[in-house]
């Protein structure tokens, strides 16, 4: 190297000018980002605020409705929901409607999407917090730096980078079409289902309906199956082939059944041995039974009592609230684990050492000297992390989001405990999906625009509030936790 001029740090006069210009360039590119951000927020607010101001609180409480837009003879533009339009037509039968358009889910408000999103978030929080906090406690407090710990950390960092759509695919394959479910209804695909022995659960749970049981079936007959059910107020015989595909359904005379309860015969009808009684089904058959049959029934009745109708099947939850919630939970889990670990790490080692010095067990040290200080921070930061991921559309697109204008608990058919199960197996509307549905329609049209702008603004407001709260709380906690 030449000793006179330092080739790395040469200082020429005109260089300083260039440097200033370049630093200015850097500043520009930094503020450019902020400027674009401000533009975006500005546009969302400018377009959305009039909608919110115009519709008022009803925009948040009403559910999406079909909207019809048209001009009347005085060139006044009307935006009416389909019900209102019917009234309008009735009121003026000679009315002139010009340039009429209609679109689904663009009227009313965003009540049901908001509610759906909240339910999804609650499911997601319940699952991911339990698992995430425990995992963080283990990684930070229990595990030694070893293979398992490293493997877990690798898994967590890898999970963070996986695209949301892949989580969607996983949720579809795993939660919607594989996850084991216990159900009272006969699974469609019996090859993936097992009957749960009745001694494992109290009889009240599945003590409904009646069944025709089958025994003594030769293996040659194992490929056919007739399912007898009581539906639509009648006995229904459904025939399935060896692959479990539905072939044929035969409806029998009305027998006055009240509830559509599926009852089944599995495998074959080689020997029908009994009919179990419920809802007058026995009466229906009583006078038609042969003596031989009556004997069989009386002999086998004690055995039959053991057989009830709870199924464990691997047919999944189908696209539903709970499947979507769990898919989101899988997605946020790595985030929860990392944030919780950071919070735990911030608790000084001295706290633990002091506990151990007093003779505390490991768990006592954690529960009395670590968790009380870390838990608020863990809860807040992970809840905020979860809320941010709740804005994702791709993972819930197939696993549970569904364009609808109704709340998920309206019109449940089951009763008792099963109502909860049915509720969770409903599909629901969620905010990001609602926005997606709207933007996939013609978003330029006057009909769709107000709803879209309003929904985007509300959604952004929520997200912004969450993010701001997240930043502020993090600062506050950091300050408080400075030991």
């Amino acid at each position: 190297m030449d000793s006179d001029t330092n080739s790395i740090f040469d200082r020429k006069k005109n260089r300083l000018g260039i440097e200033k210009a370049m630093i200015f360039g850097f500043r520009i590119s930094t503020y450019f980002i902020v400027f674009v951000f401000a533009l975006i927020i500005g546009r969302i607010v400018v377009r959305g605020a009039p909608v919110l101001a115009g519709e008022g609180i009803s925009f948040l409480t009403e559910h999406p409705k079909t909207l019809i837009g048209f001009y009347d003879e005085y060139q006044k533009y009307h935006r009416l929901t389909s019900l209102e339009y019917q009234d309008y037509e009735k009121a003026n039968p000679e009315a002139v409607t010009l340039a009429k358009q209609s679109a689904n889910f663009v009227g009313g408000g965003i009540g049901s999407p908001l509610v759906g999103t909240i339910i999804l978030i609650l499911i997601c929080i319940t699952f991911s917090m339990t698992v995430g906090i425990s995992a963080a406690v283990f990684l930070n407090e229990y595990s030694k730096q070893g293979f398992f710990c490293q493997l877990t950390r690798l898994a967590v960092t890898s999970l963070v980078g996986i695209p949301s759509i892949v989580f969607g695919l996983f949720g579809l394959a795993f939660f919607c079409y594989f996850f084991p479910v216990i159900s009272r209804n006969t699974p469609v695909d019996l090859s993936k289902a097992w009957e749960i022995p009745s001694c494992w659960y109290p009889s009240q749970i599945a003590d409904e309906g009646y069944r025709i049981d089958v025994a003594d079936h030769p293996p040659e007959r194992a490929h056919q199956k007739i399912v007898v059910s009581k539906g639509e107020g009648a006995l229904v015989f459904s025939v399935f082939n060896s692959r479990g595909d539905f072939v044929k359904r035969v409806k029998q005379a009305e027998i006055g059944a009240t509830k559509p309860t599926w009852v089944d015969i599995e495998r074959d009808l080689a020997t029908i041995i009994a009919l179990r009684d419920a809802d007058g089904a026995e009466d229906f058959y009583q006078n038609k039974r042969t003596v031989e049959e009556e004997n069989l029934i009386s002999k086998l009745r004690p055995l039959l009592k053991l057989r009830k109708q709870l199924w464990l099947s691997f047919e999944g939850w189908k696209p539903s609230l709970i499947a979507a919630g769990f898919t989101l939970a899988c997605m946020v889990l790595p985030i929860v684990i990392t944030t919780c670990e950071d919070t735990l790490r911030a608790v000084p080692q001295g706290f633990r050492d002091a506990s151990f010095a007093l003779g505390a067990t490991h768990w006592q040290a954690i529960s009395k000297s670590v968790l009380p200080y870390a838990l608020p921070g863990m809860l807040i930061s992970s809840v905020l992390g979860i809320l941010r991921v709740a804005g994702e559309t791709a993972p819930i697109m197939f696993t549970g989001a569904f364009a609808s204008g109704a709340l998920p608990w309206v019109g449940l058919k089951e009763e008792g405990v099963w109502k909860i199960g049915e509720f969770f197996q409903r599909e629901c509307e969620a905010m990001p999906y609602h926005i997606y549905i709207l933007s996939a329609k013609t978003p330029q049209s006057e009909l769709v625009r107000p709803m879209l702008d309003g929904a985007v603004l509300v959604f952004m407001l929520v997200i912004m509030a969450v993010a701001t709260a997240s930043v502020m709380l993090r600062m506050k906690i950091r300050k408080r936790m400075e030991w």
């Binding site: 740090f9 360039g25 690798l154 969607g168 035969v250």
Partner: protein, 771 residues
């Protein structure tokens, strides 16, 4: 605090402490477990794609769709060349008429502009006029109302004329970017001409397009000149014609014939298969019913309820018989099982086989009387001696007990048709014959093509640059086309309908396939290449834009900004990462797409590659939005990396007399380079996995972008891996080949992101261990 160590809690031999530990440990291992589950489930759903698609492809070959695809490929290659010739001809033809053409397009563009200006009132007027036309009773209340509306709207629009004319000011008009009108066309008109057009549009009844007399006038002139020009360009026309009509027609005819033929084979074969599947289903019903009818006497009423009249209908029995004969056929080629049959049964079986093909009466007789003897069949053919399904079916069918002569005779008749395997070989023969036709067509192309090539005008004698370029291009392309066509001819000659499809070809069809078609009338294809290129190009656009901005912002915030600035800028930029992608996607579709498209019409920017942009939604728009999304990620990580550079480096540089800038660029940035690279890689992972923005904004056209445009390729619409999953999954039936193909795409995506993540983690680890 009372730390009581002794407690009696034990479960599964574990104390309370261990139990708690394992509970937490179990939850921690869930992360690992989940990663494995994700991989397992994508593979589980995805891997069956290959066998499924393999079978599909085999079928496509069998029915000759592969053959027709090759002919099509030859035809398309040929059309590619003649297309260029045609463009040359059109350019030459339009040359004397370019003024009129510019006028027409200026007129149309102006009209569209006026329509946009008038907006809904024009829409309402048109609807009103339309409704009035359809009104049956002109005296009705409704009709009168409509008349009033029309009159009012017309008056209103008339009233807006001065305003419109003011807005359409020719001088101002020039500055308005308008997608329908090229700047070149507009420029070619002088100001007076432009004013005339604008007047014509504004003055006349522009709501009924083409009514303007000015438009009629230029259109007429246009047609006249066109006619006159065609006389001049006659020789070129003859050549184009000879290529287009004389040579292309036979090739097209062969393609049409091949594709129609092979599609029809596929449909027939499919329906055959469907019926046989239906047979199998119905057999289940029939067997149940037969079984039930046997026991009906025993169980009386209960069974009669279950059996139901429908179970015993004739339909079911028909298929029962079909299956029976099918089983027997299946039995016969299986020598071992057939020989093991006791002689008496074999005689019956032979009788039945003969009966089906020949004497129906005998067949009927055997069916009627053979029941008891055939009962011995299950014992004669022990389990495992033949295909279990067949064995079971045969066992079931030997139990047949009822049926009328006439019905069975009819059935046997139909059964023969059904049981003969589909005559793929016979059908393929027609395609083999086509190969000769194809070859003679190829010879014709070569012969006529050479003659026509000699007649091609010298590029120097042509008027337009387009024509000159295209003619030159054609000379090159034509040789390539002939080569492609000959190659296809060779492929066609070697085509065998029953050649087994290779597994490597199936893998190639997915990983190297350039076409993705589902629910197609012809054949379904699953080639990932268009999606992969789309994803990669969009990601590259986004990163090229995002990395410099984000890194320089990180450098600025970390090194040059004041403390207050830092405190404000950092959370703001990080905050961008919290904007949900769907919101940005909506902005892209509503605002950015149109904005960029109109900006691309500005003359100022016309030097940029790919400008002006044809499609509103394209890769560039998607790339811009994704760049904005990637900025916070790259910024945060790069800033973090800069923070990690030990302050001693900085102090050292300063003490050596370096300026701040030199310190940053020569010392700090190089020291944090691996961190910045890792940040870029993570940004890559984030962008390539983004779904909603590309689904809404990228244009969703499944084709490999046209790279001949050079950098202009970025303005083409495209599809992406994430987009195709999001779009296709809703439509694909569960467990179908299309559904599994999407899981395969997901698997590819997962592997890409995992790899990127792994590499960037490695880089970061190395970097931080040094720092």
């Amino acid at each position: 605090m009372n730390f009581n160590k002794k407690n009696g809690f034990r479960l599964l031999g574990l104390g309370k402490q261990e139990f708690i530990k394992y509970f937490f440990g179990g939850n921690a291992s869930l992360a690992v477990f989940m990663l494995i589950l994700i991989c397992v489930f994508l593979i589980k759903e995805g891997w069956l794609f290959f066998p499924g698609h393999h079978k599909q492809l085999q079928t496509y070959r069998k029915v000759g769709l592969e053959y027709s695809t090759w002919v099509e490929e030859a035809y398309r290659a040929y059309k590619l060349g003649t297309g260029s010739l045609n463009r040359a001809y059109q350019a030459e033809l339009a040359y004397p008429n370019r003024d009129n053409q510019a006028k027409i397009s200026a007129y149309e563009a102006t009209r569209m502009l006026v329509e946009r200006e008038l907006g809904d009132s024009l829409l309402v007027l048109r609807d009103a006029i339309n409704q009035r036309k359809n009104e049956s009773d002109p005296e009705s209340d409704h009709a009168r109302k409509l008349d009033a509306v029309i009159a009012k709207l017309k008056a209103q629009i008339e009233g807006e004329r001065p305003e419109l004319r003011r807005k359409m000011n020719p001088r101002k008009f020039l500055g308005i970017p308008f997608p329908g009108l090229s700047q070149a066309a507009l420029k070619s008109l002088d100001l007076g001409e432009r004013e005339k057009i604008i007047n014509a549009v504004v003055e006349l009844n522009f709501w009924e397009p083409g009514e303007s007399s000015y438009y009629k006038e230029i259109k007429q002139k246009y047609d006249e000149v066109l006619k006159a020009a065609s006389v001049v360009t006659g020789p070129l026309f003859n050549i184009v014609n000879s290529f287009e009509v004389e040579i292309a027609k036979p090739l097209e005819a062969i393609w049409q014939e091949a594709s129609v033929h092979s599609s029809s084979i596929r449909d027939r074969a499919n329906s055959n298969e469907m019926v046989s599947r239906e047979i199998e289903d119905q057999i289940s019903v029939a067997l149940a019913s037969n079984e039930l009818s046997v026991r009906q006497t025993k169980y009386g009423a209960v069974l009669s309820v279950i059996v139901g009249a429908e179970f015993l209908d004739e339909y079911a029995r028909i298929f029962y018989l079909f299956r029976f004969t099918e089983a027997l056929f299946a039995l016969k080629p299986d020598g071992a099982a057939y020989d093991e049959l006791p002689a008496a049964i074999r005689e019956k079986v032979e009788g039945i086989l003969n009966g089906i093909t020949g004497n129906y009466a005998e067949f009927v007789e055997v069916l009627r009387t053979g029941g008891d003897e055939l009962d011995a069949f299950p014992k004669a053919v022990p389990e495992g001696s033949m295909d279990p399904d067949m064995r079971r079916m045969l066992f079931d069918l030997t139990r047949i007990e009822n049926g009328t002569d006439k019905m069975i005779q009819e059935l046997a008749n139909q059964a023969v048709n059904f049981l003969n395997p589909f005559p793929f070989d016979k059908e393929a023969r027609k395609l083999y014959n086509l190969t000769d036709q194809f070859n003679s067509a190829v010879n014709e192309i070569k012969k006529k093509g050479r003659i026509a090539m000699e007649q091609l005008p010298d590029p120097g004698s042509l008027n337009t640059q387009v024509a000159r370029d295209e003619i030159t291009k054609f000379r090159i392309i034509f040789e390539e086309d002939v080569k492609t066509i000959e190659e296809m001819g060779k492929k066609l000659a070697g085509w065998k309908f029953d050649k087994p499809w290779k597994w490597s070809e199936t893998l190639g069809a997915f990983f190297l396939g350039t076409n993705w078609t589902t629910n197609s009338q012809i054949q379904d294809r699953y080639g990932i290449v268009p999606m992969l290129t789309g994803s990669l190009i969009i990601t590259l656009i986004a990163l090229t834009l995002a990395v410099p901005i984000a890194v320089s912002a990180a450098v600025y915030v970390n090194q040059f900004a004041s403390f207050e600035e830092q405190r404000l800028l950092k959370p703001t930029i990080e905050f961008i990462g919290a904007i949900p992608s769907i919101v940005l996607g909506v902005l892209g579709i509503v605002v950015v797409g149109g904005l960029i498209q109109s900006a691309s019409n500005w003359e100022l920017l016309s030097w940029l590659p790919g400008f002006p942009i044809e499609a509103r939604l394209n890769m560039l728009t998607a790339g811009l939005i994704l760049a904005f999304m990637a900025i916070p990620i790259i910024f945060t990580l790069a800033e973090d990396a800069l923070n990690h550079v030990p302050s001693a480096y900085r102090d050292c540089a300063f003490s050596l007399g370096a300026t701040r800038f030199q310190t940053v660029f020569r010392v700090i940035l190089p020291a944090s380079l691996s961190g910045v690279i890792a940040a870029t890689l993570l940004g890559f992972g984030r962008v390539i996995g983004e779904t909603m923005v590309v689904l809404l904004v990228a244009g969703n056209r499944i084709a490999i972008p046209d790279f001949s445009k050079g950098f202009g390729v970025i303005t083409e619409p495209s599809h992406t891996m994430t987009g195709i999953i999001a779009q296709g999954l809703g439509e694909a039936p569960i467990d179908s080949v299309a559904y599994r193909a999407l899981f395969m795409v997901g698997l590819v995506l997962l592997l890409i992101t995992l790899l990127i993540n792994f590499v960037s983690q490695k880089i970061l680890k190395k970097y931080y261990s040094h720092g």
